[in-house]
Symmetry: C2
Subunit: 340 residues, 2 copies
């Protein structure tokens, strides 16, 4: 038991109790070769007894590295930031790095402020987490440590961005529908202002093109990212194009609305019409009836990739360009019977 539980345990204290100098104590604790075995043992014993933890501040001041990474989010409250954050945290934690979290809440001034703060705290690197899949202005100028952009893409090609591959994800969905024999595929999606909406539409169109097919209804039905729009669009779609045999939706939420409307219209899913969502948003995807085939953005893994890219950069392997992170198709019953 320590006499003064509140007195911070320093290396000096350990050295004093072990009857050696701080230098020797330091060497012993850091497994340097030039220290006698019994001396090392004594120091380690004392350190253990006092639960000595080297002061990371002093260490960082000396080494120039804090083993800390700043994570700057635009909007933590949004639905996409959290899984990425999770993946980042896990990957960095495994690498013995800590995360300093800052949420700029969509405010550019706050963002500048946090960047300054993080740099003042001597973070070894920075991960800038976007709130949308869109391209954003680079913040890298004047930042003396490696930066990785996650989810949102930097407009500076010298930066490294890790983003979701929505074109590829939509391809997966489209190919799945075609493989099931569907030929009259419609697309109901969210706001065209979102790159996510445009990219997903592009992926679908490309696959249809390659198969010599046209999009049912002729064009993607852009609207809102809501169930309500899904319902509304589905009703409109079916009224004008009753022969549609598949609907690829820009999100699970939209897909959920589409399924509701199809149900009301007496169309069976998937028998009459197959439905595919996007995001694999658990609630909508698994609780809808039938459960949704959908594309999982794999955001947690994306976050992990961003973190590992940053770690690589810290080790000197600085990259640049855009790493598109593939999603994966999750097949459930809204596109056909699932074996097993």
């Amino acid at each position: 038991m320590a006499r003064h539980p509140s007195a911070p345990v320093t290396l000096t204290e350990v050295a004093r109790r072990a009857g050696v100098s701080v230098a020797t104590a330091s060497k012993a604790l850091n497994a340097r070769p030039d220290v006698a075995p019994e001396t090392r043992a004594r120091v380690l014993a004392v350190a253990e007894e006092l639960s000595f933890q080297p002061n990371a501040l002093a260490r960082g001041l000396l080494s120039g590295s804090t083993r800390t990474v700043g994570l700057l989010t635009d909007e933590l409250a949004g639905r996409f930031a959290i899984p990425v954050l999770l993946g980042v945290e896990n990957a960095l934690g495994d690498g013995q790095l800590s995360v300093l979290l800052c949420d700029a809440r969509g405010d550019a001034i706050r963002r500048r402020h946090y960047i300054r703060t993080l740099l003042a705290r001597q973070v070894d690197g920075l991960i800038i987490l976007g709130d949308r899949n869109d391209v954003r202005t680079s913040l890298t100028a004047g930042i003396p440590v490696p930066v990785v952009y996650a989810y949102g893409e930097s407009d500076d090609p010298r930066d490294l961005s890790v983003v979701a591959d929505d074109v590829g994800g939509a391809r997966l969905a489209a190919e799945h529908l075609l493989a099931l024999g569907r030929r009259r595929v419609a697309h109901i999606t969210g706001e065209e202002g979102y790159r996510a909406a445009r990219d997903r539409a592009a992926g679908l169109l490309r696959v249809l093109d390659e198969a010599g097919l046209a999009l049912a209804a002729g064009r993607p039905l852009y609207g809102a990212w809501s169930q309500r729009w899904g319902r509304q669009a589905a009703r409109m779609l079916l009224a004008a194009h009753p022969g549609v045999d598949a609907v690829f939706c820009g999100s699970d939420q939209i897909a959920s609305g589409v399924i509701d409307a199809l149900h009301d219209l007496g169309r069976r899913v998937p028998d009459d019409i197959a439905v595919v969502g996007y995001d694999n948003w658990e609630i909508f995807a698994t609780e809808s009836r039938p459960p949704l085939t959908t594309v999982d953005l794999d955001l947690e893994r994306l976050g992990g990739t961003a973190a590992r890219q940053l770690i690589a950069a810290l080790e000197g392997e600085r990259g640049s360009g855009v790493v598109r992170h593939p999603g994966r198709l999750v097949v459930r019953e809204s596109t056909g019977p699932v074996p097993g």
Copy 2:
């Protein structure tokens, strides 16, 4: 423009360029009185030009305070941690404190490890974020800085815990139903192993008791926190007790299932049966038809309270005991017409 953009800007450098000593430069930058106005101006100008930021490590090493708080979560992936985290981050950010985030992912070993890490990094305080509303083993022993427990309650009364007041929240819901004239109120909720389920049931029962009423079906229907259970329980309930005129649900997800089942059974909501949920989980609460009257846990505000309690503790106002954070009733159409 700096000549060597990558060379870190130190106070020494600022002092050199301003033609003063580091001591004077420090005083000038820290607005100490004993420095000549023109000297101060010169120093500030140079600092501004070089975008000088004092090294937080050096400052912390000297002052013993890092203006950093450790946020240790059990399970960041869960649904409740995020809003609390958000509230904490906002409140601490306003107080110029930074957040070091660690996710123990439900692992006790990882938790100990992170606590050691955070202490090594000289955090000024710690917020321990539970993944459930239940009582948990105190971790405070051996932690030399203030600790606040959020969402989950510490079993040590000397600790300070900030938790959601589920008994009170359920009271709000129950009183609302009684005020609307409902008299045969049933309770469909989640697993009895959760304190949240037990507390919400207790709050309801107390209000019914006070009104001289009995719970429809005699006892709370404990089950799973799922829509499926909501549907199933509603069917069972209505079969056995067709006269029920209100269902208070332990969660919005359950309530959503209940409403589905009631719809299928031809009961109108709220005309025949009023339904109240819990959590104000946006998706379920607003997208269900009709939208759900529910209890908002106000977790973001809870997080803010926890953060402010910690700030108070850092300033010497150490508290203890349990702060129950009231939720608030959100009235929507599932219990009756909403004016406006």
